[in-house]
């Protein structure tokens, strides 16, 4: 029987790796993939707590997180495509029109 502490530590480690990806990569698509990694780390945490407390609410919430993540990926990739058409780059360091 694996204690829940193992699952939450794993979730925290995956989340931290996702944050590292968002902060250090320059390719906008890989940044987006790191955001998905963060979302799934939280999903793991939700399911672990659902098992721990015997509640189904955790699993239902993961279901909705997955739905919203799917919608967000579709819209985000559409934005990336539109951005690429205008700026011809996917390097976030070059997409800086809003910088002061």
């Amino acid at each position: 029987m694996v204690p829940i502490s193992h699952y939450t530590i794993l979730s925290a480690v995956l989340f931290a790796i996702g944050v590292l990806g968002v902060l250090t990569r320059r390719n906008v698509i890989v940044i987006f993939m790191s955001v998905e990694l963060m979302l799934n780390a939280v999903n793991l945490s939700f399911v672990a707590f659902a098992k721990h407390y015997g509640e189904a609410t955790g699993q239902v919430f993961v279901f909705f997180v997955m739905t919203v993540a799917a919608a967000e990926v579709a819209v985000g990739l559409a934005i990336i495509i539109a951005l690429f058409r205008n700026r011809e780059t996917i390097n976030v360091e070059e997409i800086n029109l809003l910088k002061w």
Partner: protein, 181 residues
Amino acid sequence: MATALFYIFAVVAVVSAVKVVLFRNPVYSALSLVMTFFCLAGLFVLLDAYFLSAVMVIVYAGAIMILFLFVIMLLNLGRKEMMDAAVGRFRWLFVLILLGVLLAQVGFVARQAWFSGPGPSTNTALQARNTEYIGELLFTEYLFPFEVASVILTVALVGVVVLVKQEKRRLPEGDQASASD
């Protein structure tokens, strides 16, 4: 047996996640992320979330990552523009800061009651009839979020089509021809 499987899935998930961040080729990153999702699906099975495990493989690995790969290929970058090294100068600083935050979080959370004790209850119905249990909840107690989720998906669909649609271009003189869109 379950403990050994947990460690196998956990180690492979962490290694794949690190490779997502480290690979220079974004296609390799996407494939590593698929590996991470498969390991997470295995962990969900160990946590008795059978329905979510299947949904994870079907939706995340089977649809979302395919979408990522299609977009990477659609952008049709040359090999040189596609390869991207992580920001090199401050990377070790970021890693150290993150490790510090992670250790602080774990240290803070380890004092909570739920961290070291066994679960207060086990829901055998949730484990034995997982899909039916979640289905009943989705259509009774969580009906409103369920319907809102369908609206979100519709809005996302419409939004994607609007965002990606190209305007028709006209030739400057003579025959007017519409560009392909």
